[in-house]
């Protein structure tokens, strides 16, 4: 389980996180929402040690990672994978090489086995036969799919999604959401997603947390979250037009 205790972070002298307390349930899909610039991505980066808090603790299982570095931190990171906003595929490698990259670097798998696993993951994300292409030749949605295949290839326990549908049209965004949910159900990893996609996220998330003024304003199941009486949160989630019913997107 990932647990943040009293996490504070300033960037350029401005407070971004001001005492975040958050527990991510194991095996569930938790979505963090909040206004632009509220620090959602910063929060996500603290969970994997890409950023260190000025104060507070970040626990992954029974390891406190906020002061770890080098090989100790890398040992913890082996449980993780992350899908970045722009997918962060390596430009100089093909899609196949991108997906194979963690396997070649971090596993004992040999050539044919790597090839089989990569083809399998590419097929799962709908990119079968696209392995020879370079990231620059892919559309935004295809890049996200390739990024997801790379995140899945090591079969991690935890996957972090940083705004996985940013910049995609609504249909493509829905297909990426569906893919995340399908993979989450199939592999049972713990998923933490940062998203702006309201109301869609209520249909796919088990838990929803809202970051406001540097703190977690509310964390609840998707259904309970929509029933909150907090006027600010109600206003925020109703911006999407209508309140979504749980399961309206998937299934």
């Amino acid at each position: 389980m990932i647990k943040l205790v009293g996490v504070e972070k300033k960037l350029g002298g401005q407070p971004v996180l001001q005492g975040v307390d958050l527990s991510i349930p194991v095996g569930k899909l938790t979505t963090i929402i909040g206004g632009s610039g509220s620090g959602k991505s910063v929060l996500l980066k603290h969970m994997i040690g890409l950023m260190q808090p000025d104060r507070g603790e970040v626990w992954v299982g029974d390891v406190e990672i906020s002061r770890l570095s080098g090989t100790h931190l890398n040992d913890v990171r082996k449980q993780f994978a992350m899908l970045f906003q722009g997918a962060a595929l390596f430009d100089s490698l093909t899609v196949f090489e991108n997906v194979a990259f963690p396997l070649r670097e971090k596993s004992r798998m040999k050539g044919p086995e790597v090839g089989r696993r990569v083809e399998e993951k590419l097929k799962e994300v709908g990119l079968a036969g696209m392995g020879h292409k370079f990231p620059a030749e892919l559309s935004g949605g295809m890049r996200k799919r390739a990024g997801l295949a790379r995140a899945l290839v090591m079969e991690p326990e935890i996957i972090l999604f940083d705004e996985p549908t940013t910049g995609l049209d609504p249909l493509m965004a829905k297909s990426i959401h569906d893919l995340i949910v399908t993979m989450h159900r199939r592999f049972g990893f713990t998923a933490v997603m940062v998203s702006h996609e309201i109301p869609e996220i209520f249909g796919i998330s088990d838990w929803v947390a809202m970051l406001r003024k540097g703190k977690i304003a509310l964390m609840a199941t998707a259904a309970e979250f929509q029933r909150t009486t907090d006027p600010e949160i109600q206003e925020f989630i109703s911006v999407g037009g209508t309140l979504a019913l749980p399961g309206s997107l998937v299934g």
Binding site: I48, L50, R77, F80, M82, F84, A88, F90, D91, F101
Partner: protein, 256 residues
């Protein structure tokens, strides 16, 4: 007045901190270099990029540098009736100073700026963060091979620069200006000593390190914007070039 002193102090502290970060960056990269997995393939790739792909521009620069040196040297030496030592003048200038300095400046312009841009783009597009999340240290995977390639590639390019420059000088001196071929090459042979070559090698190794170190550092800490990337590339080229010239003076004063 107090305000101005405060600002100057703050600027000085910032510079010292930056220098400290730069040194730590290089030491960390070297520390990761000796830990497995060893990045032989990455290092070869970088050596190809920094070394082999800079060869053409280095040969071109060296040839014309040697030629102009012979041209200038010939008319200066003729006034004293010493055209016979033209070979020595060209060879010593090339081996001691011009070879290491100009080759390093050309590598900075061609490969150094490209290194900064490549690493900077990787930073902006979160590819470096992606390496981190895969438990792969970016200093080991990205930076250390470039530092090694700079350390090996630049001395080899300087050797090519010296040889081509001396031949360029002979083309102008011997073939165009009529200096005796025997006098040209025998003066080269008698004037150049091991300590000249040794000094040139020492300079080229340190210049190779300066180019790859500064350019990698500036790329690695690029600010997250297109403007930031442009600034980082400019700063990398300017700082590398200035450091090469300053270090050249210091090293020369120690070697003489």
């Amino acid at each position: 007045m107090t305000n101005a002193i405060e600002q100057l102090g703050a600027w000085a502290v910032m510079r010292v901190q930056e220098m400290g970060r730069m040194v730590l960056f290089m030491l960390s990269a070297f520390a990761w270099l000796v830990r497995p997995p060893f990045r032989f393939h990455q290092t070869m790739k970088q050596l190809h990029f920094i070394g082999y792909r800079s060869t053409f521009v280095v040969v071109l620069t060296a040839a014309f540098t040697g030629m102009v040196l012979a041209l200038q040297g010939y008319y200066s030496l003729r006034r004293f009736g010493s055209e016979g030592v033209l070979g020595a003048a060209v060879a010593l200038s090339m081996i001691r100073e011009l070879g290491p300095v100009l080759a390093a400046l050309m590598v900075t312009a061609r490969a150094g700026s490209a290194m900064t841009a490549e690493i900077g783009i990787m930073r902006i597009t979160e590819q470096i963060d992606a390496l981190d999340t895969m438990a792969i240290n970016p200093l080991q995977y990205l930076i250390a091979p470039k530092l090694v390639a700079g350390l090996i590639g630049v001395p080899l390019l300087v050797a090519i620069f010296d040889v081509v420059g001396i031949y360029g000088g002979s083309i102008v001196g011997v073939n165009l200006l009529g200096v005796s071929e025997g006098a040209y090459w025998s003066s080269v042979e008698s004037a150049v000593e091991w300590k000249d070559v040794y000094g040139g090698i020492l300079k080229s190794i340190s210049f190779g390190l300066i180019v790859s170190w500064v350019c990698c550092y500036k790329g690695f800490y690029t600010r997250q914007s297109a403007e930031g990337l442009g600034t980082a590339t400019t700063e990398a080229v300017v700082l590398s070039s200035v450091l090469i010239l300053v270090w050249d003076y210091l090293l020369t004063s120690l070697l003489l």
